[in-house]
């Protein structure tokens, strides 16, 4: 890197940046490693914020706007921190025809948020998935990391109650 551009430094002292640096080195600090690096950032920090994007972009020598364009093109990436718990409702075809819209409707109603949002108390994030590939178990829901199959509205509401209990 030319001397007139200083080497980018991580946004803060957090040790997790070492993981990010390792991914970037593995990608040869090249622009082509952008998506892989964003995956690492999201895995480590839960989301991609502006300082993180700036650091990754500068390190990989990717234009800032391109980094932002990539981060927002892919729906797997999120620019906002997720809640304490996440509830993912599968909207795959099999789940859809077996009642996923009713599940979503019930959660949106109970939590007062739309898919893609987090409750104001930061307790629960509600997400939808294109297809979890658990079509044999439709409709499927992921509570935090755990997949549940053949979910009913009542069971879902019950589960959410445990999370939202003060």
């Amino acid at each position: 890197m030319p001397s007139y551009v200083s080497k980018p430094t991580p946004p803060n002292q957090d040790k997790r940046w070492k993981l990010v640096d390792a991914t970037m080195r593995r990608q040869g600090l090249q622009a082509r490693g952008l998506i892989e690096t964003l995956h690492t950032v999201q895995e480590a920090f839960g989301y991609l914020d502006t300082p993180a994007l700036r650091y990754v972009a500068m390190s990989l020598r990717v234009p800032l706007s391109r980094a932002y364009g990539v981060a927002t093109f892919y729906h797997f990436f999120t620019l906002k921190p997720a809640g304490e718990h996440t509830c993912v409702i599968c909207m795959g075809t099999a789940c859809y025809i077996k009642g996923a819209p009713q599940l979503l409707h019930a959660v949106e109603h109970d939590l007062g948020i739309a898919a893609g949002e987090t409750t104001t108390d930061q307790k629960v994030s509600l997400l939808t998935a294109r297809c979890l590939g658990s079509c044999g178990l439709a409709p499927a829901v992921v509570y935090d990391q755990e997949v549940a199959g053949k979910v009913s509205v009542a069971a879902l509401q019950q589960h959410l109650k445990q999370w939202t209990r003060p």
Partner: protein, 547 residues
């Protein structure tokens, strides 16, 4: 690794396996894992330990056994398949290895769901431990690679693939041999092989299952392909939503590298291949090959016009071969047994078998591999076991958002590329969703249009704005507020998107609408003329006003 060394590993592994008089296989693919099959396996392990029978009884985690709706599935060396097994059933199952089967858990295997299948791609699924390369090698794994490297010129490999009649299993059905020979003939400083494992169709989980159940099979296919076309670098582009598949794939790559089956100078030849996993990040359009390439390059996954085709100018501007998981998984057996053997299976123009993810309103949902040319009726009513709860069949959807809904009159049609296309759908990657009288076809069309609208990359105008307008009209129809003009607009847009969109996503986005209009036009008319949804799915309009 030499052929002799490979044989040695296979021998050792087979000998080790034959020591066990009793074997219990527990499915640890994602379907059963989500019904807690890991705890079943742990319980079995514990029980074996408690009984002190570790020397004679082997509990093994294996890949998908197919009947996902009845999981967790467990099979035993006595030839019994158990369904919906819980951790508490461990002792009884172990008892049954020396006595009568546990009747309440038995899953019948003498039914069409199992009997009608013909397994090539899935031959190791549910049999071998996906986390152990030795198990794969013991099942003739990597012998096709060794055969290709030591006995065949790259040209001969391409010839066998061409002879097999294999066509791309990702959806479009382009002849695989032809693709390979184009890449082989292309000139570049570096060639690439890419495996498209960005299984994006909602309702399809074939590729995930193959990667979770038999990852080495895919690696072997890619290795043979790389050898045939002259590539020395490759990428497997997997959905980030498939963590288990990614884990097993990464593990398989490490094992293959350690065994000298991947990396530099494979098996002592001049052939080298470096493989890396690339994670998709939730963009359906990246199933389109030019978009996938952009994504592997770390860019926004937007497609570009073809030509130039990736076979000439692909990844980093170099000749690139892209096939999907199932296509690669077919390669090893083709090389092992010859293209002619493969070409005997299936129909005249659609050779071999196809894996389908059968889901929706059928008794048996899960993964099945059948010869091409089987009828839809057999798929739904024999293998699928028909429609549950005495409901009436309405349609079967194939090809996901690019496919169509086939009505009852199509049931006796053979399942092959041409027949499905003629009927207004496509083979697609293999999702097959059965719908009964409780599904509204307008609602289904709206569902897929919503999918296409959200997944449109936004680069070309017809797809970006056209899918929005079509979705608006379908929403109006399903809320009983559409007019006849809306219907003619919908048909105009179907025509526009099909002929002017930049890539396959936009060009095929109208398919679910066109196919439902063709076969279920009366449902659309009922919504518009009588303000009624025959299936009782669609509601009245809520007054939608902004601000």
């Amino acid at each position: 690794m030499t052929p002799e060394e490979l044989e040695q590993i296979a021998e050792t592994e087979r000998a080790a396996q034959s020591q066990f008089q009793q074997r219990v296989h527990v499915c640890v693919a994602a379907g059963c894992m989500s019904c807690h099959s890991q705890s079943v396996k742990d319980a079995l392990d514990q029980e074996v330990g408690r009984r002190g029978t570790k020397e004679s009884c082997r509990v093994k985690g294996v890949g998908c056994m197919g009947l996902c709706s009845e999981g967790p599935l467990v099979s035993t060396s006595t030839g019994v398949l158990y369904k919906q097994v819980a951790a508490g059933d461990a002792a009884e199952i172990l008892d049954s290895l020396e006595g009568p089967a546990v009747a309440r858990l038995v899953c019948r295997t003498d039914v069409p769901f199992f009997q009608r299948q013909q397994k090539i791609v899935l031959e190791n699924s549910g049999v071998i431990d996906p986390d152990r390369i030795e198990d794969y090698i013991a099942a003739e794994g990597y012998t096709a690679l060794i055969k290709a490297l030591t006995e065949m010129a790259p040209r001969e490999v391409v010839e066998q693939v061409t002879k097999s009649g294999l066509r791309g299993r990702g959806g479009a059905g382009y002849p695989t041999g032809l693709k390979w020979s184009t890449v082989a003939k292309s000139v570049g400083t570096q060639k690439y092989v890419i495996c498209n494992a960005d299984e994006g169709d909602p309702g399809a989980f074939m590729d995930r299952s193959v990667l979770e159940s038999d990852p080495h099979r895919v690696l072997e296919g890619m290795l043979i392909a790389a050898y045939a076309v002259g590539a020395s670098e490759g990428y497997i582009y997997v959905r980030a939503e498939y963590p288990l598949a990614i884990k097993r794939l990464r593990n398989a790559i490490r094992q293959a590298e350690r065994a000298g089956l991947l990396g530099a100078n494979i098996c002592g030849t001049r052939f080298s291949l470096r493989l890396d996993v690339r994670l998709g990040a939730g963009a359906f359009v990246c199933g389109e090959e030019t978009a996938l390439i952009a994504s592997v390059e770390g860019k926004r996954g937007t497609p570009r016009p073809r030509p130039p085709y990736p076979a000439m100018e692909g990844l980093f501007g170099q000749p690139t071969l892209i096939n999907n998981v199932e296509t690669y998984a077919n390669i090893a057996p083709i090389i092992r047994k010859g293209g002619e053997w493969y070409a005997q299976i299936g129909t005249e123009k659609s050779k071999g078998t196809k894996v389908f993810a059968l889901a929706g309103s059928v008794q048996n949902t899960g993964l099945v591999e059948v010869p091409m040319g089987i009828s839809l009726r057999e798929m739904v009513f024999e293998i699928g076991g028909g429609i549950p709860e005495g409901r009436k069949f309405k349609a079967v959807q194939t090809g996901g958002p690019s496919g169509g809904c086939l009505p009852e009159s199509c049931l006796d049609m053979p399942v092959d590329y041409e027949s499905l296309a003629r009927a207004g759908s496509i083979m697609g990657s293999g999702g097959m969703i059965v719908m009964d009288q409780t599904s509204c076809m307008v609602d289904v069309a709206k569902y897929f249009m919503d999918f296409c609208m959200t997944e449109s990359c936004g680069k070309c105008i017809p797809c970006r704005v056209g899918t929005y307008q079509m979705h608006r009209i379908l929403t109006a129809i399903s809320t009983m507020s559409a007019t006849k003009q809306d219907m003619s607009m919908l048909e105009e847009l179907c025509d526009l998107l099909k002929h002017t969109s930049l890539c396959g996503l936009g060009q095929s986005a109208p398919n679910p609408v066109v196919s439902t209009l063709r076969s279920f036009g009366e449902e659309y008319r009922a919504h518009i003329d009588d303000h009624k949804c025959p299936a009782g799915v669609c509601g009245q309009q809520e007054n939608g006003e902004q601000g």
